[in-house]
């Protein structure tokens, strides 16, 4: 300063030499610094967007309406009960303008149509991000002060899941993710507490290993542990990436700890030699493919996924065990989804022999295990405990571990600062979750989570379901949520109930809210069908729908079993909505029948989905109606025509809002369709 004054004394003096001038200069500096705030405000991003919005709408036909809707300045949506403070609508000005549906330029696009009023919930409820921010960067990205960036559109359905705990038609990805979460084994190790109380229950049922040595060999266990998908491409068990030694020791322990079970191996008598030519047809007739898949020559799986894949079952199952299983699976596993077919000894032998041929001679060719040493068995037990095998499987001598893996109840709100990312990964929560599902062991050495063989679509679906498990979903007021309907624990009573359990009816049918949706819901079957038809059907099931490939198997029931089942169904499974005997099943006037026929073919054109005359009609969607008069009660037909969804929710037959007299005439026509005279004569 000294130097400056010496060199240019005049400048300092010019500016501050005179007190008045000093005052003036300081005032100007003060004024300028005061102007920074309003200037920043004036040149703010959101003002720019509002200006360009106004200039955009100026050229449009409906400019006056849009102008009237427009409100300048910072806009805010505030919902304290939801924790929502959103200023997004400051820049996203045209969100609710239906007429802007042709605009593709952001931030002025109209919001897609959703079932909610945008104002009612705000934006961050679904999109995440920082709602209070008024700059593009801060609102959309994660910053030092705000961890949650915008949720990528790929996972947007997770936001629906915060409130909607039951499946929604419009969120297929979320529904699939939740299904996978419950059925892929995740919840055997990870606890997921539900906001409505309780925990998410697994829907899969990994087999008990208590008697594993009766069922299969140590060599097969070894090969399976090494790579489950090499045995069956559809195998649900993940790959634990075990070393040869570890797989050897675990197999040694499992075989060592297995307890023999009486009755789970069957020595077939010499008389019942398998009949190789009858094997495939018996497999087909029994509709094994309804539940079990087999890989065909092209490598595609053909068949259902309720039971395990049988492509190489001959490599796995010991012959005596397989025969016992086919004969009565409930001896080995009382809770199995497999029905107890009443096969003759000859049939058991034939089917077991046929399945034994489904083998790959190379599969176990390279597996040679020396007899297990006590050290190996002890090490195997240690590994079984460490990997948490007992989380899924019942194993003799090992307790099911509690909280084996981290709880996932609020995984969707996990702070990014607590996550460890793999190099090259985007630092966002969805990327972390997806990465964990894709390659769980890549995150650190020594992690135990096994490698799943999930497709990319499945990983996206699971990530979506997991993101829905967040702080908000746990803390929302109950009035705002749509709870899931808990699975019914319905159990039919008595002798018939035991029989239905033995035949595993619930593996395909749904009754009173319990069971699968593979086959029709039979909750009101007693009101629906006629007794003689039901007896015939249970004796010899035939398909009602021409285009169906998965069918009801023939269980070879004894006459008294059929009577027990029929009695129970006809008595208990009746709807309170109407009396099944309120209309006669025959004796309708010919004129009514003729009128009904005309209505059937002309006014209501039922032949587009149903077949009455097999020569002329072709409809493939609904059941064939050639014998409907022998199958259904007239009162059921009438009430079904009046409102199909009332009797079977979700059925695709539309409600025709049919006048009573039309429904009566159609009932007369349909009730007169008694089927072939041969059947009549038989009766």
């Amino acid at each position: 300063m000294q130097e400056l004054n010496e060199n240019r004394p005049s400048l300092w003096h010019k500016l501050f030499g005179d007190p008045i001038r000093t005052f003036g200069i300081v005032s100007v500096i003060l004024l300028l610094s005061l102007a920074i705030a309003p200037a920043k405000n004036h040149f703010s991003e959101w003002r720019h967007y509002q200006k360009s919005y106004l200039s955009m709408i100026r050229g449009r036909g409906e400019a006056i309406t849009l102008q009237r809707h427009f409100q300048g300045g910072i806009q805010q949506i505030w919902h304290p009960e939801l924790g929502v403070v959103d200023r997004c609508t400051t820049c996203h000005v045209g969100l609710t303008e239906a007429s802007l549906s042709d605009v593709t330029q952001q931030p002025f696009r109209r919001h897609p149509v959703i079932p909610h009023n945008l104002e009612q919930y705000g934006c961050v409820m679904c999109h995440r991000g920082q709602g209070v921010a008024t700059t593009v960067e801060e609102a959309h990205s994660s910053t030092l002060a705000w961890e949650q960036p915008l949720l990528p559109a790929r996972y947007i359905e997770s936001s629906c899941g915060q409130c909607h705990r039951a499946p929604l038609t419009g969120t297929p990805q979320l529904n699939e993710g939740r299904r996978l979460l419950a059925s892929s084994g995740c919840v055997h190790c990870h606890t997921i507490k539900l906001p409505e109380g309780g925990t998410l229950k697994a829907t899969d049922d990994p087999p008990s290993l208590l008697h594993i040595a009766d069922k299969t060999t140590r060599e097969w266990i070894f090969a399976w542990l090494k790579d489950p998908q090499a045995y069956a491409i559809s195998a649900r068990m993940p790959n634990f990436k075990l070393s040869d030694d570890d797989a050897r020791d675990i197999s040694a322990f499992l075989v060592f700890s297995s307890v023999p079970l009486s009755g789970d191996t069957l020595a077939l008598s010499q008389k019942a030699a398998p009949d190789p030519s009858a094997g495939p047809s018996l497999y087909g007739e029994s509709f094994c493919a309804t539940c079990h898949a087999v890989q065909n020559a092209a490598g595609n799986l053909v068949g259902g996924n309720i039971g395990p894949e049988l492509t190489r079952i001959g490599n796995k199952a010991k012959p005596g065990w397989l025969a016992a299983w086919i004969s009565n699976p409930r001896v080995y596993d009382p809770g199995t989804a497999m029905p107890h077919y009443r096969f003759s000894e000859q049939q058991v032998s034939t089917l077991a022999g046929f399945l034994q041929t489904k083998a790959d001679s190379d599969f176990l060719a390279n597996v040679h295990l020396d007899p297990a040493t006590p050290e190996q068995i002890a090490h195997g037990k240690l590994l079984v405990t460490e990997y948490g095998c007992a989380s899924c499987h019942e194993i003799s001598g090992i307790k099911k571990p509690e909280n084996f893996a981290p709880e996932l109840t609020r995984i969707g709100s996990k702070p990014i600062s607590q996550l460890i990312f793999v190099a090259g990964m985007r630092h966002t929560l969805p990327d972390y979750i997806g990465g964990k599902l894709r390659q769980p062991r890549a995150f650190a050495p020594g992690l135990k989570m096994p490698q799943y063989s999930l497709t990319s679509a499945q990983i996206d679906a699971l990530t979506t379901a997991l993101l829905a498990l967040n702080d908000r979903s746990q803390t929302l007021p109950a009035t705002l949520t749509v709870p899931n309907v808990a699975d019914s624990t319905y159990r039919p009573a008595g002798k018939a109930g035991q029989l239905m359990n033995d035949l595993a009816c619930f593996s395909c049918h749904r009754i009173n809210g319990r069971g699968s949706d593979l086959a029709p819901d039979v909750t009101w079957e007693g009101s629906s069908v006629q007794r003689t038809w039901l007896e015939d059907f249970l004796r010899n099931p035939n398909t009602l729908r021409p285009a169906l490939i998965r069918r009801m198997p023939k269980f070879n029931l004894k006459p008294d079993e059929i009577t027990t089942l029929t009695d129970y169904i006809m008595t208990v499974y009746q709807t309170p909505a109407f009396d099944r005997d309120s209309m006669p099943n025959s004796g309708y006037a010919a004129s009514d029948i003729e009128h009904g026929k005309q209505l059937f073919y002309s006014k209501y054109a039922c032949q587009s989905c149903h077949i009455i005359d097999p020569k002329a009609d072709k409809g493939y969607i609904g059941p064939t109606l050639t014998q409907v008069g022998s199958r259904l009660n007239a009162a059921w037909i009438y009430n079904w025509l009046k409102n199909p969804q009332a009797l079977r929710p979700g059925t695709i037959e539309p409600n025709r809002n049919m006048p009573d007299e039309d429904a009566r005439a159609m009932t007369a026509f349909l009730a007169s369709q008694k089927g072939s005279t041969k059947q009549e004569a038989k009766r």
Partner: protein, 240 residues
């Protein structure tokens, strides 16, 4: 404090913030073709941001139309389209396969596959894909449940089509030539009240007592979105 950005740049950055990641460094091509064609995977629809169900496959051909192996193909798309992988050489049958995820906004997406020709020019092919918003996804799900058995002529073992059984053939939902000429109100009338509502076949039953009004609107939104040629809203939004 955030750095202030010039307004123009800001605009651009918002528009292109989700721009496709540039082709990763791929090995140099070992062969060159002269044309690139779509093999499969075009005209699919998927929810916004989701992966398309089927991969997109393109093929590089030479002057004679024979497939060229080892030619470098790269994919480009705007507005957040992602490719996995974004670039690579064609396989032994001259084809290159990539999985496509569409961007976060509903609508039609043009993706471009290109390959370098011998004369260092780009041969390109444009492929169209469709991203569905919530309403359209709902429409698609409802259509799968209630409509496609008759309206989709394709049969699979799991779901046999009823199309061939019908005397009067239903219109597949992508059939824009017919459906684009019908107004939303007419479509809603047919779905809700059946074919006879517009003097059409009674083989089309009414769904107005089964589906809710928003469901019917969702179906129409879906039909409009997948229409080929695209459905143009006419008259409503014209300038003064």
């Amino acid at each position: 404090m955030r750095r202030a950005m010039p307004f123009g740049l800001l605009c651009l950055s918002v528009m292109s913030s989700g721009c496709a990641r540039k082709a990763a460094s791929a090995p140099p091509p070992t062969a060159y073709g002269s044309a690139i064609v779509e093999v499969s995977g075009g005209k699919q629809s998927a929810p916004v941001g989701a992966r398309l169900e089927q991969p997109v496959v393109v093929q590089v051909n030479d002057d004679q139309g024979n497939a060229v192996a080892g030619a470098l193909v790269s994919f480009h798309g705007l507005n957040g389209v992602e490719f996995d992988p974004p670039a690579g050489p064609t396989d032994s049958s001259g084809q290159f396969t990539t999985n496509v995820s569409l961007g976060g906004m509903a609508g039609r997406y043009q993706i471009i596959a290109s390959t370098l020709t011998k004369s260092q020019k780009q041969a390109t092919v444009e492929i169209e894909e469709i991203a569905l918003d919530y309403q359209e996804v709902l429409g698609r799900e409802l259509s799968e449940q209630y409509c496609s058995r008759c309206h989709n002529p394709e049969s699979t073992p799991e779901r046999v089509s009823n199309y061939d059984n019908l005397e009067v053939k239903p219109h597949p939902f992508a059939e824009g030539e017919t459906l684009n000429k019908m107004s939303d109100a007419d479509l809603a009338a047919i779905v809700s009240h059946g074919g006879p509502a517009l003097n059409k076949s009674p083989l089309m039953p009414p769904y107005g007592y089964t589906l809710s009004t928003p469901d019917v609107q969702a179906l129409i939104a879906y039909i409009r979105m997948i229409s080929d040629p695209p459905y143009q809203v006419s008259g409503t939004y014209s300038k003064k």
